[in-house]
């Protein structure tokens, strides 16, 4: 594996037009990545990905919006800066038709330590979330037991 650039691919049993919508539209991104997403789907547009009640917010800058082939954006810039070519990670989705489906390839390149930080932040956030998932049912059970007494 090359350091500093991450590459992954997956085969999807859906046509490229559908896969492109899923990777590039805020209403779908909310289902597979952040808790909220907002941006205009055009190159140069700036938007944001939001986790929790704005517990974590990342600005993104769209680079390529070429349906149904390529969707690319910059993200993870140092505090307050807008993500661009020199200060952030570049995520690129490439879609290739394959029979009735699509080969979806994602690459993330830029400063490796940033990518790692981002992954750790996200992981930490979801750990937190899972913590509540475990805690709330327990609390509910406890509350019921108190009422029953």
């Amino acid at each position: 594996m090359e350091f500093g650039k991450l590459e992954r691919e997956i085969r999807i049993d859906a046509v490229p037009e559908i896969v492109f919508d899923v990777v590039s539209r805020p209403e779908h991104i909310k289902m597979w990545w952040s808790d909220d997403a907002s941006f205009e789907p055009e190159p140069g547009a700036v938007g944001e990905l939001v986790w929790g009640d704005r517990a974590a917010v990342e600005a993104i800058t769209l680079v390529t919006v070429d349906p149904p082939r390529t969707f690319a954006f910059h993200w993870v810039a140092p505090g307050g800066e807008l993500p661009g070519a020199d200060n952030s990670l570049l995520v690129t989705f490439d879609l290739e038709p394959s029979g009735d489906g699509t080969i979806l390839r994602v690459t993330e390149s830029g400063w490796r330590e940033k990518g790692w930080e981002a992954a750790v932040l996200e992981e930490a956030f979801h750990d937190h979330e899972r913590g509540w998932d475990v805690f709330l049912p327990k609390l509910q059970g406890y509350a019921l037991s108190v009422v029953a007494r």
Binding site: G4, L6, I12, M31, W32, L104, W111, E113, E117
Partner: protein
């Protein structure tokens, strides 16, 4: 695991010459600035500087040998760096699997 250490680890391994140095040390077991500079298009002084960065990140260890220092790779720390890199990969694998599920569900609805 502190952020400072990890930043050092990543910038240490982010440089192609330093990765080449780690490769050479892994292949040969040990090396000195002189033996390593013979194999690379950079001076002994430059090799010494890069080795110092790798040393600070804990990726190599030095033992004095005569007038030079003998370096070898800390495999545990290298394994840790690789593990962190894989962590990033797994995060994207999880996202891609969710993308696949959503897209296939939409396709399925269209076909019905």
């Amino acid at each position: 695991m502190t952020a400072a250490v990890d930043d050092e680890l990543w910038s240490a391994i982010g440089d192609p010459i330093r990765r080449r140095l780690v490769d050479l040390l892994l292949a040969e077991g040990v090396g000195t600035p002189t033996s390593l500079s013979d194999r690379l298009p950079i001076s002994r002084q430059a090799v010494t500087k890069h080795l110092a960065v790798l040393d600070r990140a804990g990726l190599v260890h030095a033992t004095p040998m005569g007038r030079e220092r003998r370096y070898e790779v800390d495999e545990a720390q290298l394994a840790r760096a690789v593990r962190q890199l894989n962590e990033v990969g797994r995060t994207w694998d999880a996202r891609l699997n969710r993308i696949k599920r959503i897209a296939e569900q939409i396709q399925h609805q269209k076909n019905d």
